[in-house]
Amino acid sequence: MPQDPTERRVVVTGVPRQTRRTSGYYRPRTEIDEQTTLGHTYVRSLMRSQLRVALVVFAVLVLLVGPLPLVFAAMPDGASLEWAVLGFCVYPPLVLLARWYVRRAERNEKDFVRLVEDR
């Protein structure tokens, strides 16, 4: 450990700032633009995080809706429950799921932009 941490910090952050000034653009972005292997890895990581969110919401949808026909068939008074659930109760969860997904997907994209633009 160096004795004066503030002094050391100046040295570390100084190097990329200089490169940036001379080349004019940020590194990860260039990797993506020029389609290098590293660039593909960035894109892949974004795709994976987006797919994960989508699959989680899809799984919730399947768990929510999938058992319903079986429940209606198994219950003795299934018909009136079916009217209530399919006629009304199922719609608000669908909209809530959609809103939650959009928030997560937009946050993923924002995080990704921050990562590659090195902000």
């Binding site: 974004l46 006629g87 669908l94």
Partner: protein
């Protein structure tokens, strides 16, 4: 029903559609305006337009009719129509917008770089579009025939002419305004009468037997049979009959009908007493929107329900008129937000048809007997309220129904005409687009006039099943899977979508009438969707050398936020926009 209000209401909707379309024409100048409104449509306007386009005759009239005849199981239709948008949002919405393509064939070509796959996708778009247009035209015919004494074909021809005129004149820009306007019109046309009907129901003491299974007659009722039909009884039933039943004449005599199918001649009158279960007209005898694939449901209800869920959940993303609307969003984030707004708008709308279905079971149960259940929404105000108020409400509903036919038909015509113009007709440009529009509408119009009594719900179900087994694998794998190859995509679409098409085609032609095989063929999605996915993946894995060279760059364009998309990608997209 009193025509003096309904006919002006329908005329008003038609004129308003043409006028709003003409307003769009004045600001629709370039080719890009024409196809996708220059991609400047904001989420709110676009969401109303998507919803307006999506809520078709099957939603406006068909669901209430199906619920009236077959009970709450049919509520899976609106649930599936709505949840389909959630699945579309999760896997497709933003990448599809960022792909920068105009139509599904454009997407296939951009992703796979293959002209053959493009043409195959185009063929499926045209096929699904025509299948979906047919019920709209037939629904229009049915509505006008119920409201007035017009012949069955007249309503279809009227819708066809208005749609071709607005689409060919203004293209997508005018369509966006027209569709948004029609969503609010449709919502109003169901909501306002529904409020009055519920008040009337409460004034009658809020009877709850709508939810009984099966539906029963609440009072003694005389039913006149206007068209010869086959009546299906699941248990013996005693009625008082005047006219010809099973080939014998009766004059106001008591008849004990055993369980089974009975042939009732046109003009017969049947008197049912209070508490009798409502019998159902047999499938195929009278092709309305509600004579669904009933036989398959009765034998394998759970299998049929899951088949319906899968087809509607996954089929929505591949409907050509739905997909084309996403290209009008300015960017991927807007496309996602638009989809959430759409979910809210159509979810709100779908709260209403079940109300009509339930009230129909109470106040007009005999509609299922005479095979005219699709008219329930149109006839209920007259049944429950009566007088001038009912006539006005009926006119509002009729106008809304026409808005439903017009909006869905224009969206479909737009999509099919786009494909025809780009892939079938030789040169590109606005004039050829107009020719494509006429062609896109001429074929289903001819079919609806010629075929006539095709069961309409079957055609809608077929469109969803085919779309779920062909376009859903193409879109999902194309967006998320790097190893997709052109041969794999072609094989998956052909085998998945093709087998679904053959299966429901065989059911509609009446082959095999009963048994497990019938259920399998009538509800194909449960096996044809996995078949499409598996074929597409296996053939792609077997042809690893055919993975298109630019796959990585294309997937980057699909998934990167617009602010990051590389300079060369942006150049490629804008070059494509100019070229198309």
């Amino acid at each position: 029903m009193n025509q003096s209000y309904a006919v002006p209401a329908v005329a008003l909707v038609v004129v308003a559609t043409v006028l709003v379309g003409a307003f769009g024409l004045r600001i629709s100048r370039t080719t890009s305006d024409f196809y996708v409104a220059s991609r400047t449509v904001g989420p709110r306007l676009n969401a109303a337009a998507i919803s307006g386009e999506y809520l078709s005759a099957a939603s406006f009239l068909g669901i209430a009719g199906l619920v009236l005849v077959q009970g709450p199981d049919m509520l899976w239709y609106p649930v599936g129509y709505t949840a389909g948008y959630l699945v579309l949002l999760l896997f497709v919405a933003a990448p599809l917008r960022r792909s920068g393509a105009y139509t599904l064939p454009d997407f296939a070509e951009a992703r796979l770089g293959s002209g053959a796959v493009r043409r195959l996708a185009g063929a499926f778009v045209v096929g699904v579009g025509w299948l979906y247009l047919l019920p709209q035209l037939q629904g229009a015919g049915l509505t006008l025939a119920v409201l007035t004494d017009a012949p069955d074909w007249f309503g279809g021809v009227l819708v066809a002419v208005v749609v071709v005129a607005t689409v060919a004149a203004g293209g997508m820009r005018s369509i966006t305004f027209v569709q948004a306007f029609q969503y609010w019109l449709k919502l109003t046309a169901l909501l306002v009468p529904a409020l009055f009907l519920v008040l009337a129901w409460q004034a009658h003491g809020a009877p709850r037997d709508a939810f009984d299974e099966p539906a029963t007659f609440r009072e003694q009722r005389v039913v006149r049979v206007d068209d010869t039909l086959d009546l299906k009884l699941s248990r013996p039933l005693g009625v008082t009959a005047t006219g010809s039943v099973d080939g014998r004449r009766y004059e106001g005599e008591r008849v004990e009908l055993p369980a089974g199918v009975h042939h009732i001649e046109r003009g017969a009158r049947l008197t049912f007493t209070k508490g009798d279960p409502v019998p159902v007209a047999d499938r195929g005898s009278n092709g309305g929107m509600s004579t669904s694939l009933a036989a398959g449901r009765e034998e394998r209800p759970l299998y049929a329900t899951y088949g319906l869920i899968l087809a509607t959940f996954l089929g929505t993303m591949g409907l050509p008129h739905v997909v084309v609307r996403f290209y009008t969003s300015p960017h991927g984030v807007a496309a996602r937000r638009t989809t959430v707004a759409v979910l809210g708008l159509i979810g709100a709308f779908y709260l209403l048809p079940p109300v009509y279905g339930a009230l129909g079971r109470l106040y007009a149960p005999e509609l299922s007997l005479i095979g005219n259940a699709d008219a329930a929404v149109l006839l209920l105000p007259d049944r429950m309220i009566g007088g001038v108020g009912a006539d006005l409400l009926g006119a509002l509903v009729a106008g809304g129904a026409f808005a439903a036919f017009l909006s869905t038909a224009s969206g479909l015509t737009m999509a099919v005409a786009g494909v025809l113009t780009q892939d079938v007709l030789p040169a590109r440009g606005v004039r050829h687009f107009r020719l494509g529009t006429v062609l896109a509408m001429a074929v289903p119009l001819a079919a609806s006039v010629l075929v006539g009594g095709l069961p309409v719900a079957d055609a809608v179900g077929l469109a969803f099943a085919v779309s779920a087994s062909s376009f859903c694998p193409l879109l999902v794998l194309g967006i998320w899977w790097r190893r997709l190859t052109p041969p794999g995509a072609a094989a998956g679409m052909l085998i998945g979508g093709g087998s679904a098409l053959v299966a429901v085609g065989a059911t509609m032609a009446g082959y095999p009438g009963t048994g497990s095989l019938h259920a399998l063929l009538a509800w194909p999605a449960l096996w044809s969707v996995p078949l499409g996915f598996v074929t597409m993946m296996l053939v792609s894995l077997a042809t690893p050398g055919r993975v298109p060279a630019g796959t990585a760059a294309i997937l980057a364009r699909f998934h990167l936020p617009e602010e990051l998309a590389g300079a060369q990608v942006r150049a490629a997209v804008s070059a494509k926009e100019v070229g198309a």
